[in-house]
């Protein structure tokens, strides 16, 4: 993985001082190589870089020593400055932390227990479903799976409208264009490809493929901005990028994550030009799309952040992580304001989404369930079963009537809340009424457990 460091040859060292420095430096780098093997990470160390400088550049020994000292001094100075800034930031944030969200929401009526029901099951993928997205017409869904297939469904009728086979496997990201005329997808091929959809079902979609984004590692998430013309992508190489669809040109890139970026979400407002991204470095960063700057950064999760989603008003966002918690961060208070977790939940969250009003937070978990949280009170209001493998993706429809979940059990399920009007109950015959009551009794027992 990494080329072995050349040992310091005795003939190249000009003086004893230089020799000592290079040997000390080399031993330190060897140590880092051992670390590398153990933890399986790249570690660009200060000493590693300086080894190369000393072996290839060989400045006079006196100047070299002072240069090294100067660099060390400024590095130490910068380190102390960064530490002090970090503590100052924490202090500033803590000053405004006067109350918790659930305390403010004490007077709000509780939601009681919810019943959700699966309305449609979309079967047709041959392998794990990795990602899905709704179309703005609230009826079409695009989903991608591990076998390279990207399918466009009509959720009302469960018909497949289009199917494309990508040349790569593990298509981890897919998105529907706002106009409904194209889909974007990508994965292990490090690229994001846009396929224009046509009404003609027999047309070969793969022929019209347009390669838009190029990353140096896998594509983890993609999303169209407010128009069909720009795509935002995030990748395993630690960067996010904004691309122009027509020309395939890179418009802006966003650097700041120290590890793979796993998810991103655009701010909901029309004029908003910020987005949030979450990564394996446990950080969630909020970026300004025009300048490429990271405006805010939140690091309270204990493990990789798998999913981030903006609150419908745009003032907050939720994140779901492998540490089995979902957290709500407020952008104007610049801190985490709520944690949604339970002792009994030990499996990571793969995806989160809000309902239309923002009162409910849906989380798809790796233990095959979907937990529904009351955002204001911090309690769980419902738990859904049904999937036979981990839930990998979850999105609420644009008008908030239903939500769709994709899972490693090769299916997608569209669910909505189950409510029955009193009129329809009264009009049922006694036997049917009795079986309904028994059914609900057992259902509620399961939820309470």
């Amino acid at each position: 993985m990494q080329d072995p460091l050349p040992p310091p040859s005795s003939s190249s060292s000009a003086s004893p001082a230089c020799d000592v420095i290079t040997s000390a430096v080399h031993s330190a780098s060897c140590l880092s190589a051992v670390d590398r093997r153990r933890t399986n990470t790249y570690t660009h160390t200060h000493t590693h870089i300086h080894t190369h400088i000393y072996l290839y550049m060989r400045p006079p020994p006196g100047a070299m020593a002072t240069q090294e000292l100067q660099i060390n001094e400024s590095l130490a100075h910068l380190k102390t400055e960064s530490e002090s800034l970090k503590t100052k930031l924490e202090e500033e944030r803590a000053k405004l932390h006067d109350v918790e969200l659930h305390q403010v929401a004490e007077k709000v009526e509780g939601l009681g227990q919810f019943v959700m029901k699966t309305r449609r099951t979309l079967k047709g993928h041959g392998n794990k479903v990795l990602c899905m997205d709704w179309c703005k017409d609230k009826r079409r869904i695009v989903s991608s799976s591990q076998d390279g297939k990207v399918i466009v469904w009509d959720a009302f009728t469960t018909n497949k409208e289009h199917a494309v086979t990508m040349p790569c496997t593990w298509v981890m990201a897919c998105a529907y264009a706002p106009s409904g005329c194209a889909v974007a997808c990508g994965g292990l091929d490090n690229k994001c490809s846009v396929y224009p959809l046509s009404l003609d079902k027999n047309e070969n979609l793969a022929a019209k493929k347009k390669s838009v984004a190029m990353h140096t590692n896998y594509l983890s998430a993609c999303s169209f901005t407010n128009s069909d013309m720009q795509i935002l992508t995030s990748s395993g190489d630690g960067t996010c990028a904004l691309w122009d669809v027509e020309s395939g040109q890179l418009l802006q890139s966003f650097h700041g994550h120290a590890a793979d970026v796993l998810c991103l979400d655009l701010a909901p407002s029309e004029t908003g030009n910020t987005f949030v991204s979450g990564g394996c470095d446990k950080k969630a960063n909020v970026w300004d799309m025009r300048s490429g700057q990271c405006i805010q950064s939140f690091e309270t999760h204990e493990s990789d952040i798998n999913s981030v989603r903006y609150y419908p008003s745009g003032d907050a966002f939720a994140s779901g992580s492998d540490d089995a918690t979902c957290r709500l961060y407020d952008l104007r208070a610049d801190r985490e304001v709520a944690i949604y977790s339970k002792e009994s939940i030990i499996f990571g969250v793969s995806s989160v989404d809000f309902s239309l009003s923002g009162r409910l937070l849906f989380g798809g978990y790796n233990d095959y369930t979907i937990n529904v949280w009351d955002v204001l009170k911090g309690t769980r209001v419902s738990i859904l079963f049904g999937h036979e493998n981990r839930v990998s993706t979850l999105r609420v429809s644009p008008d908030g009537t239903a939500f769709c979940t994709g899972s490693w059990d090769h299916t997608l399920r569209v669910s909505s809340s189950f409510s029955f009007s009193l009129f329809s109950v009264i009009s049922l015959s006694p036997e049917v009424l009795l079986t309904h009551c028994v059914f609900f009794f057992f259902f509620f027992l399961q939820i309470w457990a």
Binding site: T41, Y42, T43, H44, H46, S74, L75, L78, K79, E81, S82, L85, L89, R93, L96, V99, L101, A105, V108, R119, K138, R139, A155, F156, L188, G236, D260, L262, C280, C294, I295, S297, E302, S303, Y311, P312, S313, D315, D322, D330, R332, A333, D334, G348, S355, L356, S357, G358, R359, L360, Y368, L376, V396, F403, V414, S416, S417, S419, S421, S424
Partner: protein, 107 residues
């Protein structure tokens, strides 16, 4: 606290996969995220340190409001839009687009 990355697999006994111990790719638990780990802890590099300090200065200068105010506004938004939220209040079965299709008999 133990963090599990993989869900239990119900095949000839249980296979619990704890993070850090599972390097073997099993046929049903290949999790793509860990295939390419590129953690770069470049804290000691001078230019990255400078950038970090600049970034921290920028973040420290952000305008903040009190949590109580932010929480009240979140709550207000929730309550204002609660009526429109179909997943929250439910819709009458007649207008739910995802209800089971009922067959009509033409007399």
């Amino acid at each position: 606290k133990i963090i599990y990355t993989h869900a239990p697999v119900h095949k000839e006994g249980r296979h619990w996969c704890k993070k850090g111990h599972c390097r073997v790719k099993t046929e049903y638990n290949i999790y793509i995220k860990r295939l390419t780990v590129t953690t770069m802890t470049s804290n000691s590099n001078l230019s990255t340190m400078r950038r970090l300090v600049e970034q921290l200065k920028l973040e420290a200068s952000v305008e903040r409001i009190k949590v109580s105010q932010a929480a009240t506004e979140l709550q207000q938004y929730c309550l204002q839009n609660a009526g429109k939220d179909a997943l929250l209040v439910g819709v009458p079965t007649g207008s739910n687009p995802f209800r089971e299709p009922r067959s009509c008999a033409v007399v």
